[in-house]
């Protein structure tokens, strides 16, 4: 018998929770549901799900509380579900250790893609194991060479500056995941750096002009407005 990945759905709206469960079960996952924060906590501790789909607005407990509680002892991937008008929430959730987010209302294909990515990332213990083995990140025409500290586009050196290289290499190490502006700034310029993301944006605008064919239709680095950047999944 095939062992299924277990997804815990923490969602207080019965109708949404049951449709997500139906979609997941139809696609080969084992779906568990929890309607309150306390139910969620007991389900997480007793069932050890492979992915947690966490709605931030719960009746009895703040979703952020559950996120922090789980992060104290587990690296289990958590995908946060947020509403469009609360864009601060998803940034906070990502900074508090959530792996990804999805915005209501979402389609089933988007939901399945996020869950697949989240599960894949737990299977690779290092941010990206390919990099550890080959010293390179490859996605379509883009190669980040971690040994030589350079970025090649279709075989040609993109001639990035040092800061630009640091930014691209960081995104490459966490490919497929959204990195928030604050996270990137802390990684690049240390914890004391002023969290002014203007320098970051200017750097990114320059990088895009060096590595993308059309900066308005990027192939490699995507912007999640108000949240951060995401590198395309490696080949």
């Amino acid at each position: 018998m095939k062992i299924k990945d277990r997804v815990l759905i923490v969602e207080d709206e019965q109708s949404i929770s049951s449709f997500i469960a139906a979609v997941l079960e139809a696609n080969g996952y084992d779906a568990l549901t929890a309607r309150t924060g306390s139910e969620a906590v007991s389900a997480i501790t007793s069932h050890c799900p492979d992915v947690i789909l966490l709605d931030l607005g719960l009746p009895d407990m703040d979703g952020m509380g559950i996120l922090k509680f789980v992060r104290e002892w587990s690296t289990c991937p958590i995908v946060v579900v947020s509403a469009r008008e609360h864009e601060r929430d998803k940034v906070e959730a990502l900074d508090a250790g959530a792996d990804d987010y999805i915005v209501k209302p979402f389609g089933t294909s988007e939901l399945l893609a996020r869950i697949r990515t989240a599960i894949r990332h737990t299977r690779t213990p290092l941010p990206n194991s390919d990099i550890a083995q080959s010293g390179q990140f490859r996605a379509k025409g883009l190669v980040i060479d971690y040994d030589k500290h350079q970025v090649l586009v279709d075989g040609e050196n993109a001639r990035l500056t040092q800061n630009e290289y640091k930014l691209v290499s960081l995104l490459g190490k966490h490919a497929g995941r959204v990195l928030t502006y604050d996270f990137i700034i802390r990684q690049l310029w240390g914890p004391g750096a002023k969290s002014d993301n203007q320098i970051l944006r200017v750097n990114m605008a320059n990088i895009r002009r060096k590595i993308e064919k059309n900066p308005a239709q990027p192939e490699y680095i995507f912007t999640e407005i108000g949240v951060g950047y995401r590198m395309v999944d490696p080949d």
Partner: protein
């Protein structure tokens, strides 16, 4: 104007400056005329005029009253015999003071009243706009909801009777109507995000190309069949905006081009011009009917378009677009292109205007 805490101090300073300036002007004029004509009968008239102007151009009563007091002192001390000396025994002197003070109070009262009425009118306009919008929205919501409830009941109640294709067709219908409702709600959320027009937008510098590509990604998920071409500015262009609202504007424009214009290809671009950052959405579809072009951004449009066609969302979407752009201090226009298709274009100012900063 005076309602913003930051602007209040500045406005007060402005009022004092106006008061002082007009009084100095009055003094200078009186002095000059006095050199020509020693009788000085006109001096009080000049100061009455100064007091009227001060009361008209400033807020409240204080400035006008102060001006009339200073005016009386000036008239007495400087411009009437004996010069540079107070003389309260001149006949009719209390009358001059009384006249100036009452003129100032009456004009101030009238000025405040006019301002209050103006504010009241703006509020009424806003209320009317809201009521119109609410009416249009409620009307527009009923149709898809009826269709969703109807399709769902049809499937539930006739499960055994309906052939699978028909069930699928009904479910597709439910999905597309629900998606339409989502878009409508997103537009309504944008309106609440802008608040009642007095709240400031949460603007941040955003790279134009990032906004374009983000919108394009979402749009292509919904309409994968449409060829979308994006043009980024050659130099990175950072524009102060509320990105969520501007995305909504671009999304509405793209959806209109796809759904109402039945376009197969859309050009989306951003460029720097002298007036600011210009965003353009150009399609190769049906274009805009000439008869609605003049009032295309008016919130009254949805009712007129409602003849059972699929243009329900267009009017509200466009009036939301134009309100968002206006709230950014920009402008928006629409036209038909000679080669076919419609072109929507809006400009956002590159610098924060002084009013926003104060």
């Amino acid at each position: 104007m005076g309602s913003r805490p930051g602007g209040r101090g500045k406005r007060r300073l402005q009022c004092w400056a106006v008061t002082a300036g007009l009084l100095l002007l009055g003094c200078a004029l009186s002095g000059a005329l006095l050199a020509l004509d020693h009788t000085g009968g006109f001096v009080s008239m000049i100061f009455v005029l100064v007091v009227v102007l001060v009361a008209r151009l400033t807020d409240g009563y204080a400035y006008g009253a102060a001006a009339s007091f200073v005016g009386v002192v000036c008239v007495n001390y400087i411009f009437t015999y004996p010069y540079w000396e107070f003389n309260f025994t001149i006949s009719g002197y209390p009358l001059t003071f009384f006249t100036m003070l009452s003129v100032s109070l009456i004009v101030s009262a009238l000025t405040s009243q006019i301002k209050r009425q103006e504010q009241l009118r703006v509020e009424t306009d806003r209320e009317t706009m809201r009521a119109n919008l609410l009416r249009a929205v409620s009307h527009d919501l009923r149709t898809p909801l009826t269709s969703i409830v109807g399709s769902a009941s049809a499937i539930l109640e006739n499960d055994a009777l309906l052939p699978p294709q028909q069930k699928t067709a009904l479910l597709r219908n439910v999905r597309s109507e629900a998606q339409w409702l989502i878009r409508m709600v997103e537009n309504l959320l944008s309106i609440t995000r802008m608040g009642d027009g007095t709240a400031r937008l949460s603007k941040e510098l955003e790279a134009a190309e990032e906004v374009l590509s983000s919108v394009a990604g979402k749009f292509q998920q919904r309409f994968p069949g449409i060829q979308l071409t994006l043009t980024a500015p050659r130099e990175a262009l950072f524009v102060p905006m509320d990105a969520i609202l501007i995305e909504q504007v671009l999304m509405n424009l793209l959806e209109n081009a796809a759904a109402h214009g039945q376009s197969s290809a859309i050009l989306l671009s951003a460029e720097r011009q002298s007036a600011g950052a210009v965003f353009t959405v150009r399609d190769n579809g049906l274009g805009i009917p000439e008869e609605i072009l003049p009032e295309i951004f008016s919130p009254a449009l949805p009712g007129k378009l409602h003849a059972g066609d699929d243009r329900r969302n267009m009017g509200i979407g466009l009036s939301v677009c134009s309100s968002i752009v206006k709230a950014h201090g920009g402008s928006m226009s629409a036209c038909n292109v000679r080669e076919g298709g419609a072109m929507f274009r809006f400009t956002l100012p590159m610098e924060e205007s002084e009013e926003v900063l104060s």
